[in-house]
């Protein structure tokens, strides 16, 4: 199993390269549908993902995580930037080339309830892409579908059922089976467990890990449950308002977050241990600014405790070696933050 230290493995080519990805949604008004502004859902992201690793993507709701994930799969048309997958620029592929490329590039959706067509039986849901993309005939496709069911821990007997006859966890397994069925190399997991029960979450996370091991999968793992992202990821990128503000190997990030936002995120995360209740933690005040008109300068300055005047004027770049951070005044590297610092009984 490949693990971290990507930079120490020179010569290994990234599986996925994101360069300057921007996705602006036009805000349209009236019948003329004139664009009166843009929601800058993703506003300039560079990220390399190497074969076999899991890159976690965290950030608060609406910061553009899903949009980024969808953009990689060309479910959204990019405003700017390029997605290189296996060394090919996806933007330059024809429709049919793209369609065949999809068997290497898959996605697991956030909501297991709405991502399965309620009027199709599982067998149809699983075999349809197999027939279309892998060109299998009916019998082969059904055979493959039942293998997949076993792989994700479901009985092939239930292939004839409808999505509503399954629990949320089982549905998410079906979604996973569907994505894995095409034998992809990269799977974008868009919050695959946040809609699920706590007791089921662990099942799914374990399944994903196991699949990664057996099929040498690469994951881009999106989530805002810090616990699960931490559990899954080798590296973690923290997003805020369409930008990556910090990118570091998992352990380092949790041990010493450098961006004030990362720090706030870690502090706000309620630790399931009553002994570790914060007496007086730093809760972020203010609301998330609108992505339609992100603040000038550093986007976080409106909520940042350490913001100075430069933060309002100049946008910080994402810099650093193994631990990248975009902040004019990053938290000192040596002061370990978080983790029950000021715990009380």
């Amino acid at each position: 199993m490949l693990t971290t230290k990507i930079d120490e493995t020179p010569g290994l080519k990234p599986l996925l390269q994101l360069e300057g990805i921007k996705k602006y949604y036009p805000i349209k008004k009236g019948v003329f549908s004139r664009t009166v502004g843009h929601i800058k859902a993703v506003d300039g992201i560079d990220l390399d993902v190497y074969p076999g690793e899991t890159v976690g993507l965290v950030g608060e709701s609406g910061c553009g995580k899903s949009t980024l994930g969808r953009s990689i799969l060309k479910l959204e048309d990019l405003t700017e930037g390029s997605v290189m997958f296996q060394g090919r620029n996806l933007a330059q592929l024809t429709q049919s080339q793209m369609r065949s490329m999809r068997s290497d590039l898959q996605m697991i959706f956030q909501d297991p309830y709405s991502s399965l067509n309620p009027r199709k039986r599982i067998v149809e849901l699983l075999t349809e892409p197999l027939k279309v993309l892998s060109g299998l005939n009916d019998a082969e496709a059904v055979k493959r579908a039942s293998e997949l069911m076993e792989i994700v821990g479901l009985s092939p007997q239930s292939l004839g059922k409808y999505p509503h006859e399954f629990s949320g966890g089982q549905r998410q397994r079906i979604g996973i089976a569907r994505a894995v069925g095409l034998r992809p190399r990269l799977i974008v997991c868009d919050e695959p467990v946040s809609a699920l029960d706590v007791s089921i979450q662990a099942q799914i996370l374990n399944l994903l890990k196991e699949l990664q091991r057996s099929f040498r999968l690469t994951y881009l793992f999106i989530g805002h449950g810090l616990g699960s992202v931490k559990y899954m990821s080798d590296r973690i990128a923290v997003m805020y308002l369409g930008k990556i503000v910090e990118l570091a190997p998992t352990k380092r990030l949790f041990a010493m977050p450098r961006h004030p936002y990362t720090n706030a995120l870690l502090e706000a995360y309620p630790v399931p241990n009553p002994r570790l209740r914060y007496a007086d933690r730093t809760v972020l005040t203010g609301d998330v600014p609108s992505p339609a008109s992100p603040p000038a300068g550093c986007r976080f300055h409106t909520r940042c405790k350490v913001a100075q005047s430069i933060c309002r004027e100049r946008e910080p770049m994402l810099t650093g070696g193994e631990h990248l951070v975009a902040c004019h005044f990053p938290l000192a590297e040596e002061t370990p933050q978080s983790m029950g610092g000021t715990a009380c009984g």
Partner: protein
């Protein structure tokens, strides 16, 4: 909002132009000649020719259309072929009666269907609900010529308390009450068919809203069920209802032909049918253009009403 409306009107212009041209083609394609049909045995071919010339029917097709358009720009819709009055004036005379009848019919239809629809939804699947469902289908499926005639017979002839037709008492001074009395039967006839469909729409729309979380919030505040339904649910439920209403209006303005003729209510429907039956081209063009205008206006109206009822929708 004003901006939005102005832009909508701008976009309506090419649509209208298209409609008028297609109308012109249609009208000219329709069988029957406005002059030939004057089969007064005493009218000779030569006289028909005089009439053709006077009506401008001898010009080629495109010339006639361009002339018509040129006049339109100056606000002139031409003269009727049969009554020789300006089309604008003819339509003007008929518009008010139509609007009055439509207004009353819509008001009547909605006044009975909205409460019934709400109550059906609140008491969904009860006896009342089933009974009213059946009633609403009856309303939809009873032809208006039949309902109208029945009403005339019962209230005009047998009971004799309501006038059987016309817009006011012959020779009367046409006071408000007089006209109101004459409005009753046509309003009921037309309103019944409106109400029939509306009950269903209101019912399903309220039913949908009744499952919304914010109604539970309202109940949790201790608000009486009556207000929960009639304040919190109703306004939301009206949003889809407005769309339907928007679709209703043009149909009513152009299409209450039967009700109008049964009750001698001289509105647009009567005018339209007369124009068609006499192949009165200029009048038809005028009437059709008004119909197109109402469709576009009604679309705009429902969009604007949407924004009025639903603050989430904003036009700028």
């Amino acid at each position: 909002m004003v901006n939005y409306i102005v832009r909508r009107i701008m976009i309506a212009i090419p649509v209208l132009l298209g409609v008028t041209f297609l109308n012109f083609i249609l009208i000219n394609l329709a069988p029957g000649d406005p002059v030939d049909m004057y089969v007064n045995p005493d009218v000779s071919e030569a006289d028909k020719q005089v009439r053709r010339e006077a009506l401008g029917l001898n010009d080629p097709f495109m010339i006639r259309y361009v002339k018509w358009l040129a006049n339109l720009v100056q606000g002139d819709l031409g003269h009727s072929f049969s009554s020789f009055q300006p089309v604008v004036q003819l339509i003007g005379e008929r518009l008010m009666p139509t609007l009055i009848l439509m207004g009353c019919a819509i008001a009547f239809g909605y006044l009975i269907s909205i409460p019934i629809g709400i109550y059906c939804a609140v008491k969904a699947n009860s006896k009342f609900d089933y009974f009213m469902s059946a009633g609403s289908f009856l309303g939809v499926s009873i032809p208006s010529f039949f309902l109208g005639l029945g009403l005339i017979y019962v209230f005009g002839v047998m009971v004799g308390i309501l006038p059987t037709g016309g817009m006011n008492t012959v020779g009367g001074d046409g006071g408000f009450w007089d006209q109101a009395l004459h409005l009753v039967l046509p309003t009921v006839t037309l309103g019944t068919s409106i109400a029939g469909g509306m009950v269903r729409y209101v019912r399903s729309s309220v039913l949908e809203v009744l499952n919304q979380d914010y109604l539970r919030t309202a109940r949790a505040k201790g608000i009486r069920e009556f207000f929960v339904v009639n304040k919190h649910a109703l306004k939301n439920a009206l949003i889809p209802v407005i769309t339907i209403a928007g679709l209703d209006i043009p149909i009513l303005i152009g299409g209450a032909v039967i009700t109008e003729s049964i009750f001698q209510w001289n509105g647009m429907g009567q005018l339209t049918i007369q124009a068609i039956l006499s192949r009165d081209f200029p009048l038809l063009m005028g009437v059709n253009m008004l119909a197109a205008l109402t469709v576009l206006a009604a679309n705009l109206w429902s969009d604007v009403m949407y924004a009025v009822v639903d603050p989430r929708i904003k036009y700028s």
